[in-house]
């Protein structure tokens, strides 16, 4: 028997929203509109997605899955692009990166028979991988920019000693990857101890035996970890080049777009 939450008890969630709202009101945080708007928006989004998912899950997998994946990847690309709008080819690079990551994890999941090609399994699992990769790319882009900004002097010194852009940027890329990957490494280390991971929680609530839930969780955690690492490495490796011109000279952030 599938579990469900009665609609009237969902309405009680409003009480929970009222708590931060009241605090915002009392302390005049100026967030009242934000809280209401994001609650309404989030709720509507979720119900809408629920409806769309119901519809897509009924389509043949070969039609529904590609549609849903394309939408997810496009939305993620638009979102991550904001973090690197100064850089040339940013949209296409993120798009290619996310498609690549999705192809890799999907081939692995299906190839090793970890999941079956049904929307119920492919879509939520891919969603987690794409979402986390998107965040990782955004983090890496922000960090890359600030590393180049902060280390201008060292980069100039390295170039003037005869370093190629690749050599000169090595240090900055290393720090960028560290920063982008550390949250994930930490998460992997404390998995199950600090918090029960979302997917496992979901499956257990849905009535799946914990040991099976753990297997799924293992697959998704490791997939997320690999794809996040891959995304951050990919975006940094492609994007650092644009901070230099062909004459191995360091560019200012505002000159990069012209050059690219």
């Amino acid at each position: 028997m599938e579990r469900d939450i009665p609609t009237y008890s969902l309405l009680l969630l409003i009480v929970f929203v009222m708590i931060p709202f009241t605090i915002a009101y009392i302390y005049q945080l100026g967030l009242k509109k934000e809280i209401i708007w994001s609650t309404v928006r989030g709720t509507l989004q979720l119900f809408l997605i629920g409806l769309i998912l119901t519809y897509l899950f009924d389509l043949p997998p070969l039609v529904g899955i590609p549609i849903m994946l394309s939408v997810m990847i496009l939305v993620a690309t638009f979102h991550a692009r904001k973090k690197g709008k100064e850089l040339p080819y940013i949209f296409i690079t993120i798009l290619v990166g996310l498609i690549g990551v999705e192809i890799i994890v999907l081939s692995m999941w299906l190839g090793f028979g970890m999941i079956s090609f049904t929307p119920e399994e492919v879509i939520p699992m891919s969603g987690m991988v794409i979402g986390n990769s998107m965040v990782a790319m955004g983090l890496a882009l922000e960090r890359l920019k600030s590393e180049f900004e902060q280390n201008r002097g060292k980069l100039l010194a390295a170039l003037s000693l005869g370093a190629t852009p690749k050599h000169a940027a090595h240090m900055s890329i290393k720090k960028t990857l560290n920063a982008a990957l550390i949250p994930n490494i930490d998460q992997l280390k404390t998995i199950g101890l600090v918090q029960l991971p979302g997917m496992m929680t979901g499956l257990i609530l849905g009535g799946v035996a914990p040991i099976i839930a753990i297997k799924y969780q293992l697959v998704i955690s490791i997939s997320i970890f690999s794809s996040v690492s891959l995304s951050a490495i990919f975006i940094s490796m492609v994007m650092y080049r644009f901070f230099f011109n062909k004459q191995m000279q360091l560019l200012n952030l505002q000159d990069i777009k012209k050059n690219g």
């Binding site: 060292k154 010194a157 003037s160 000693l161 005869g162 000279q249």
Partner: protein, 233 residues
């Protein structure tokens, strides 16, 4: 006359206008002038950290663009105004350049430390533990590690106090003579210009006002502009 190492012909870049001069073997050219005159901009054209908008730069009588850029920067070494040392140890900094060209032997470290008058046991010191003067010395040694033929110095002593300045100047002169280096140096100190330089290039608002023997320039300036500049400094 000795061989021309660098020839600038009618070079324009940002503020710089029609810069023309020749740097000959073992010249020690002092580039000086008011703040914003374009001195740093000019210095960066020698090793292609920047390129002219117009005009040409010849290196050993060949257009500078014809040289491999890393090799050019290796033989035309630039010491930046601020040391900008790389993380970790002094040794890591000294090795950086030569390692790029597979040309490092540990034995060179001691000689470099000697050139810039730093104790050998500093080699394994973290650069964070160095004083301003010591950092400047490491920065100089790091550039010398590449065994350059031409040395570009952008106000190498601007961050130092008088005692340190004198000591570094002595080391500089010694190692320039010992290695027969050709030098282009930016400085604000006319005393330093006199002590180190053989030639002078005075620029104002991007234009060459006077060019010639450094003592001649400093003692018998021809133009009103240079007379006024020297009077003020």
């Amino acid at each position: 006359m000795s061989e021309a190492i660098f020839q600038f012909n009618q070079v324009n870049r940002l503020v710089l206008q029609n810069i023309t001069f020749t740097l000959r073997e073992e010249d020690r050219l002092i580039i000086f002038g008011p703040s914003g005159a374009g001195k740093s901009t000019l210095l960066h054209l020698f090793n292609r950290m920047d390129d002219p908008d117009q005009g040409e730069v010849l290196f050993h009588n060949k257009p500078i663009e014809q040289y491999d850029i890393p090799q050019l920067r290796r033989s035309v070494g630039l010491v930046l105004q601020q040391p900008h040392l790389f993380p970790d140890t002094v040794l890591d900094n000294l090795k950086f350049g030569p390692s790029l060209f597979d040309d490092w032997e540990e034995a060179r470290a001691e000689r470099l430390m000697d050139y810039v008058n730093l104790p050998i046991d500093y080699l394994n010191k973290s650069v964070d533990e160095l004083s301003g003067g010591e950092k400047q010395r490491v920065s100089l040694a790091r550039t010398l590690a590449n065994k350059p033929d031409v040395l570009l110095l952008d106000e190498p002593t601007s961050a130092l106090d008088d005692r340190n300045i004198e000591a570094i100047e002595e080391d500089l002169i010694r190692l320039i003579e010992h290695n027969h280096l050709t030098v282009a140096m930016v400085t604000h100190s006319m005393d330093q210009a006199k002590r180190i330089g053989t030639k002078g290039l005075y620029i104002e608002e991007g234009q060459v006002i006077e060019y010639g023997d450094i003592n001649q320039l400093l003692e018998n300036p021809n133009t009103e502009q240079l007379k006024q500049f020297l009077h003020k400094s």
